[in-house]
């Protein structure tokens, strides 16, 4: 043994390779096994306990792994869903197809359920005490007006007619952003005459509480001596607690250039109708690329409401932008003029309204 004392592992292996397989007499093997190889058998019950414990441990481990795997899968799904949602939202914002949540007017509180009156999304959300301040989008009617002028100038032989530029995708997309809807809804709204079906007026429960009144508000702009080619205003309508707005119509101004109804989101009306004490903000916009433009104090839009109840609605307006024919902002002031009782306010019965054409246009 002493001659192996200072050998390396490699030496030991090499030396062993040269040796024959070691053998022992049978009695020596038997003696070794007697000394070390215990033959005490395990009891069957011991085997059962060991195996049962092993399988129980495995069951618990698998259950734990299953829970962990489920949580991991759920986390991955949540991550993917969030990523997809954010990606879609960014794409929508980039393509100008953002829905009302991303529209120019954003309100923190979600609007209550309301009857459907049209397609598209509402830009004018129902307002309450928790409402966030208005956040105007970066896009204004000035951008749409510039784009319309650009398209017009590219068209050979185009002669401005003073009419609205007909369904140009880029222009309509910009306008849709301004009023908080999508392009298709904007076009559908632009073609329709009546925003509120007449039957909706007489279905209201509030109608039983009092007579129906028709009230008109003129939205007027004063640009002094400068011609007005485009404007964007924000009108806020509020119904009193004791009355409900059952119908809302819009019409254009007096001058031929702005005679057509302003662009707006028709879904905005549903947030106001039949809800005493409700308020909405409605972006209104219009432009004309023609040469004959109005100046001075002018009517640019008219809001007509049917109201049931005893209260009186409130209407205010705020000018966002007014522009001249060169697509540059011009100074202007805006005001709301309620038409006098003797002039337009009248009391009608629901049955009277039903039999008439409710559209002012």
């Amino acid at each position: 043994m002493s001659d192996h004392a200072n050998t390396t592992p490699n030496d030991e292996a090499a030396r062993g390779d040269a040796l024959p397989d070691p053998v022992l007499p049978r009695r020596a093997v038997a003696a070794l096994r007697e000394a070390y190889g215990s033959t005490r058998p395990l009891a069957a019950s011991t085997d059962a306990v060991v195996l049962r414990t092993l399988f129980e441990q495995r069951r618990r481990t698998n259950a734990r792994k299953s829970v962990v795997r489920t949580l991991q899968v759920a986390a991955v799904f949540a991550l993917v869903a969030t990523t997809v949602y954010i990606g879609n939202r960014n794409r929508e914002q980039a393509s100008g197809k953002a829905d009302a949540k991303n529209a120019p007017v954003t309100i923190a509180a979600a609007p209550p359920a309301a009857p459907e009156f049209g397609r598209g999304e509402s830009a004018g959300r129902l307002l309450d005490e928790r409402s966030a301040p208005v956040q105007l989008a970066g896009v204004t009617i000035l951008d749409a007006f510039k784009k319309a002028r650009e398209v017009e100038q590219k068209r050979k032989g185009f002669v401005s007619s003073g009419e609205r530029v007909a369904e140009i995708d880029e222009v309509d997309s910009l306008v849709a952003q301004v009023v908080g809807t999508d392009r298709d809804t904007l076009r559908a709204t632009d073609r329709s005459d009546v925003e509120v079906p007449p039957e909706a007026i007489i279905k209201t429960d509030v109608g039983k509480a009092g007579p129906m009144r028709v009230i008109s508000y003129d939205i007027k702009l004063d640009t002094g001596s400068r011609p007005l080619a485009a404007f964007q205003v924000e009108v806020e309508l509020s119904a009193p607690d004791t009355a409900a707005v059952t119908g809302l119509w819009l019409r254009g101004g007096d001058h031929p250039a702005l005679q057509r109804r302003p662009y707006f989101n028709n879904r905005v009306t549903r947030d106001l109708k039949n809800k005493p004490g409700s308020r909405v903000r409605i972006p209104l916009a219009n432009f004309d690329t023609g040469g004959d433009l109005p100046t001075g104090d002018m009517l640019v839009a008219r809001v007509v409401l049917t109201v049931v109840g005893t209260g009186h609605p409130g209407v205010t307006a705020r000018l966002v932008v007014a522009a001249g024919p060169e697509a540059t902002a011009i100074p202007a002031s805006v005001r709301v003029v309620e038409r006098g009782d003797s002039e337009i306010r009248s009391e009608v019965k629901p049955s009277d309204v039903k039999s008439k054409d409710a559209s002012p246009r």
Binding site: M1, H4, G16, V23, A28, A31, E34, A35, Y36, V50
Partner: protein
């Protein structure tokens, strides 16, 4: 009334107020001709019967090795359970290329020594452990153990694995992670030592055995 089969584990424990759901043990196969590699492959796919066959085949080996490294039977049983728990844990990825004993031996050794260190705070060699219950051994066994206890640990391991646990030289080499040549070299040295001692010379000498 039929006599219960001692090899068949009971379906549930007796004397417990609310016994757990019984495990259905398959019929025991005393002679399972399937190799370790096949059983491991089956067990890794969830075949409990294959795992139990592996357990029955190797439990005595594991217990014997565990007893060498531990002081008492209860610790050896702990080692037995922990070793097969380790096997169960490794099964999904285990691809066996030799006898399962070569995989189990280092596991048993490590688990046993870990338990010993934890319980006693000291690390003991197999010879020390075994010497503790030498009172029940024959005089020859006592002499053999005394001699082997004086051998280097490497020589003790190869000697016992080769001649007590009946592993081949290659299997011993695989179990210990050393070359076959080293196994042979250590065995020769161990046997030479045993042959030199007058108490065991007659037992280990080939010529004297005729």
């Amino acid at each position: 009334m039929s006599t219960p089969d001692p090899g068949q584990p009971p379906l549930h424990f007796t004397g417990e107020p609310d016994p757990p759901a019984p495990i259905k043990f398959p019929a025991r196969k005393e002679e399972d001709g399937r190799g370790d590699a096949l059983l491991v492959s089956l067990a890794s796919r969830g075949d409990d019967e294959a795992f139990m066959a592996l357990y029955r085949r190797h439990k005595n080996f594991v217990m014997n090795v565990a007893r060498r490294f531990t002081r008492d039977e209860s610790e050896a049983l702990d080692v037995l359970q922990d070793t097969f728990a380790y096997l169960l844990k490794r099964l999904p990825d285990l691809r066996l290329t030799a006898k399962l004993s070569t995989f189990l031996y280092p596991a048993v050794k490590n688990i046993a020594l870990t338990i010993r260190r934890k319980d006693r705070g000291v690390a003991l060699t197999p010879s020390h452990d075994r010497a503790l219950d030498s009172a029940a051994d024959s005089p020859l066994s006592v002499d053999i153990k005394a001699l082997i206890a004086n051998l280097p640990e490497g020589q003790q391991e190869v000697l016992l694995l080769r001649f007590v646990d009946d592993l081949s030289l290659r299997e011993v080499a695989a179990a210990l992670g050393i070359p076959v040549g080293t196994v042979k070299s250590r065995l020769h040295q161990a046997i030479a030592t045993l042959r030199e001692d007058p108490r065991t010379r007659a037992l280990f000498d080939l010529e004297e055995s005729g």
